[in-house]
């Protein structure tokens, strides 16, 4: 993060220079006005008046030019910083391991990448603006001192309070604004759930209950807004009043001095103009102090993410996948693993499992026996706590991550598709895949038929802003995605659970073809899916308790029958009568 800011320093420096040029032009105007009054208007010198007028006009042109440049550079630098930080933030998240993402919430990361970066942007934009404002304040003070020190003290004496008040105003207002946002969000969630749950609300006639909840939320928003309004009412009039005190004192004290002849009328007018000139810079200086505190807090939150080391990375000299024929030998060698290292009961406790190249194995077991964990250790989403996982004889920790993951195709239990076309979702593993590859993969996954029926076929946009698919359709696209990657090892983690049972039959046939001569790990509880595998492994308590073919286990193992029975009863009950016809 420091480096991002560091590398913007040239831009900041230029912004400051431009700001200083603006200051010079802006500060010279009141001096020129005073000069015009003293040396041209009062003596009645018309030709001098023309010269002074031209000088003021020139200063005006400079001030105009530089105020534009000043803003342009300040924003350019700050937006650049924000953009670079956001890009780095995103890139860094992509490198952080599963274990990290398991702990953090998407919403929290989103708010760091959005709100916190905005706070930082707001602060960075203020740097050059603030420096030139600060110089303006100093320059004006010095100029006024040379004219009349006492009058300067009177004129500017009240202005530091503008700065103090502006800072306090900003600090007080900020939490109120946050409260308004929170209360509005709560109100929005009542609206949102009432609209989404309209069937429940109408079904029970509970409109009145919801209406009173909304009223309560609307009152909260009102109260929070009024609290913020009261903060504004307390500070804004005071901020308006303070500069007037300076103006009044100048008129009073300065006026008497002019009458005495110890001060010129031009200087008096110049004083007035200078005070007006200082109001905004001082207000902004107050805001920047408050904004700076928030920006530091934000920067710490962003930095916390950027400073997290990715624990799962390539070792120095990481190996490519070994070129063996046939490929796809998998071995779990005395593997111990727990999601919270050391704290919890391990999920896998001395697991030994060997899968020959081309073999297909079904992992069966009750929930929490470690089936999915096995699927997640092979692609090295997590590192084992003890023992080793080997692919084609090489410890996965010694392989290049990129190569390793290219070699393994995984269909997760929960399907995640991207807001993109269906074709691009399937071609996720290989951007260069042509239509033929994509269609072939979709056919094998039993997805081709329904995709063709969509309004724009493979070009149909899906996701948030696009077409929404059923759970089964989504799973079939995820399977096609894995097939297209043409991996050495294919892992299907409950990959057909949401597929309509009648369609599952078709997919099973196709999957048989995909699995031929390919190492496959199937995690399933439907007997039909289990039957796809050459060998069945029954897990309990993080270890293998039995293995064999489906038929032998069924005939000989009580525990196996129990697990299947639970799943089967479950399936029997959920088969859709209606949607079959």
């Amino acid at each position: 993060m420091g480096s991002t800011l560091h590398h913007q320093w040239k831009g900041v420096a230029f912004g400051v220079l431009v700001g200083l040029a603006w200051t010079v032009a802006r500060v010279s105007v009141p001096a020129l006005v005073g000069g015009a009054i003293n040396q041209a208007i009062e003596p009645g010198d018309k030709s001098a008046l023309v010269r002074w007028t031209v000088a003021i006009a020139a200063a005006a042109a400079m001030a105009g030019l530089f105020t534009g440049l000043r803003r342009y550079w300040a924003f350019k630098v700050s937006r650049r910083t924000e953009t670079e930080l956001r890009d780095r933030f995103f890139a860094h998240l992509q490198r952080l391991p599963f274990a990290y993402h398991d702990q953090v919430q998407t919403g929290d990361l989103m708010s760091r990448a959005n709100t916190d970066l905005q706070q930082i942007q707001f602060f960075v934009v203020m740097i050059p603006l603030t420096i030139s404002n600060f110089v303006t304040v100093v320059a004006v003070t010095v100029i006024l001192f040379t004219i009349d020190p006492w009058l300067t003290v009177l004129a500017l004496g009240s202005l530091p309070f503008v700065n103090v008040l502006a800072k306090r105003f900003s600090t007080r207002l900020h939490p109120q604004v946050m409260t308004i946002q929170q209360e509005s969000a709560q109100l929005a969630s009542v609206v949102e759930e009432t609209v989404s749950g309209v069937r429940v609300v109408k079904g029970f006639g509970s409109q009145r209950v919801q209406a009173s909840r909304l009223r309560a939320e609307a009152d909260d928003v009102y109260n929070a807004s009024m609290a913020a309004a009261r903060v504004r009412a307390r500070y804004l009039p005071a901020l308006e009043l303070l500069p007037n005190i300076g103006l009044i004192l100048v008129l009073f004290y300065g006026g008497h001095q002019v009458i005495d002849g110890s001060l010129s009328l031009g200087a008096l007018v110049a004083f007035n103009v200078y005070i007006a000139l200082l109001i905004w810079p001082l207000r902004m200086l107050g805001q920047i102090v408050a904004g700076g505190q928030r920006a530091i807090a934000s920067a710490q939150r962003v930095q916390a993410v950027l400073a997290t080391d990715p624990t799962i990375v390539d070792r120095p000299g990481a190996l490519p996948l070994p070129d063996v024929r046939p490929p796809g030998a998998v071995r779990f060698d005395n593997v111990r693993f727990g999601y919270q290292a050391g704290r919890n009961v391990p999920v896998l406790d001395g697991l030994d499992l060997t899968i020959a190249p081309g073999e297909s194995v079904a992992l069966v077991g009750a929930t929490g026996t470690g089936k999915s964990t096995i699927a997640r250790l092979l692609p090295r989403f997590y590192d084992v706590d003890g023992g080793a996982v080997l692919l084609d004889g090489v410890d996965v920790r010694d392989l290049s991550l990129r190569e390793l993951r290219r070699g393994i195709g995984l269909v997760f239990e929960e399907t995640f598709l991207f807001s993109d076309t269906i074709a691009n979702n399937i071609a996720f593993a290989d951007l260069d895949a042509d239509d033929e590859d994509i269609h072939r993969a979709a056919r094998l996954a039993g997805a081709h038929e329904f995709i063709e029926q969509l309004p724009e076929g493979y070009r149909t946009e899906i996701g948030e802003r696009g077409f929404s698919l059923s759970g089964g359709q989504r799973q079939r696209i995820a399977i096609a995605r894995a097939i297209l990657a043409d991996p050495r090892v294919l892992i299907l983690d409950d990959a057909t659970s949401a597929v309509d049972p009648t369609k599952e039959h078709e997919i099973r046939d196709a999957l048989g073809e995909v699995m031929r001569d390919r190492t496959t790990i199937v995690i399933a509880h439907r007997p039909a899916a289990i039957a796809l595998a050459d060998r069945v492994v029954l897990l309990d308590g993080g270890r293998i308790v039995a293995e064999g073919t489906h038929a032998t286990l069924l005939a000989t193992n009580d525990a196996y029958r129990e697990v299947l029975a639970a799943a089967e009863r479950h399936d029997h009950e959920t088969e859709a009568v209606a949607d079959v016809g």
Binding site: I41, G44, T53, V198, A238, A531
Partner: protein, 597 residues
Amino acid sequence: MWAEAGVAQEDALDREQARWVMRRAASMLRPYRRQVVLAAVLMTLSTAALLAGPFYVRYGIDHGISAGDTGALNVAVFAYVITAGLNYFVYRAVLVVVSKVGEGFLRDLRVRVFDHLQRLSMPFYDREKAGVLVSRMTSDVDSLAELVQMGLVMLAVNMLLLVLSLIVLAIVSWQLMLVCLIVLPFVVAASIRFQRESNRAYLTIRDRIGHTLSRLQEGISGVRVIQAYGRQDVEVERFVAQSGDLYDAHMRSVRAQAWYLPVVEFAGLGTTALVIGVGGSLVISDVITIGTVAFFVLTLGNLFEPIQQLSQLFNTVQSAGAGLKKLFELLDTPVDVAERPGALDLPEEGPIEVDHVSFSYTGTVAVLQDVTLTIEAGERLALVGPTGAGKSTLAKIVARLYDPTEGSVRFAGVDLRNATQRSLRQRIVVVPQEGFLFNGTIRDNVRIARGDATDDEIDDALRAVGIFERFDSLPDGLGTEVRERGSRLSAGEKQLVSLARAALVDPALLVLDEATSSLDPGTELLVEAAMDRLMEGRTVVVIAHRLSTAERADRVGVVADGRLVELGSHAELLADERHYAALFATWVGGLGHPVRP
């Protein structure tokens, strides 16, 4: 601070719409009449006070300093002190009064829109996307809130300031005022152009922020898939491209500011030069006084500042207007299913008669055609049929979530359209397919069904569906917050809460939409047992997705293509060997290779 609001071309109001929106808003503000008048008076006073400052300086210079009269100078100073002091309180009052009116207006609007939303019928919700409706209450009201919180006072004060400044300047010296007017048209033209550019830029920025954030969100939620396929580099590249687009949009907006600001700055300072030049020579010719020149130099800010501020507020005002128009349009949407005058309370129980009912959502494609059937009190009827055949619609019409397009539905002889809403919801309860939970505690979620239920009654309802012990054993018991739509509870537990709601109401007729998606085997049994208990002694219409449910019903109705094509017991229909029998056969065939231990 710049370009923070905007309105799309198609949403911008034309003159007539703007007038309509103003009239509606004005009528909604009627209860605040007095405060509005008070605010107007206070704002005028405050603006006048702002202008008075330079005026006193002028008086002090001309009558005090130039004339060497300390008395006149002291008068000017004294008046200035009084005015500034008073303005402190006036300005303070302005901010409070305007906020009271504005925030009160917003609160009324939120409540009214929400109440109206709740009165709208189901067909309305089928037509409109939930997201759009929610955005009425969020972004449209928020754009108004922005105007109320930041803009309203600024708008009024700046307009007053502009007008009053022109008047005062003209009174003090019409010659110098004409000099000031030379640049004004340029500033106004530049402001209009800037307003348009920044509006366009704002819309692009808003759009691209949305895209960037959704890509960010997807990159975070989908990080496991991305890593599984080793696609990090590609995703980062795509994100960088997206955020680069956002940067460009920001820079476009900054460039607009970068030309506009110099124009305003130069206009202001350039006019100072003109005032000094022209005013100075007028002083030399004895037409005006030095005090007048000083007055003009000090007041110039009051002329240019408001134009700049107004040009920025313009976007806020426009988007608030557009938001208000959408809200008023929503309030004007007619309520379809309303209670008739002289509506009757439904009797305790009785048969349901569906009499030649037809229904269509849009008026063109009929979803149901001429359905007639009678369900006796205490009977259990299962509806089966393909997706989209109309079985859900039929169930919803029986519960009067929709009114039939033709024909009628009667409960114990009373047409549902003549029933009071209250008795309707006491006699007939619909349990939807998925247990939908609201934010709040488990107890709150059950109470949704009957706002006046006591805690004991809620406990009993939960006991009736056999889930009381499980929830009661949680650390916070029934007071457990369900969090974000019940993310803390399993699908089965949510379903049980939903059933407990029905138990709380204790209706005569229960309309059940059976879940299609699977639950974990443990809770599945609980849910089934709960449903059985709930159906005991009631008339039940169940949309069946499971064979066992259809088997257990007294009668089965098969709905196909919007018609009731078969009606009879499970055994009778199987014997008939028509739709139901075919459905049953496919189902048995689809089982694959059933394994029985």
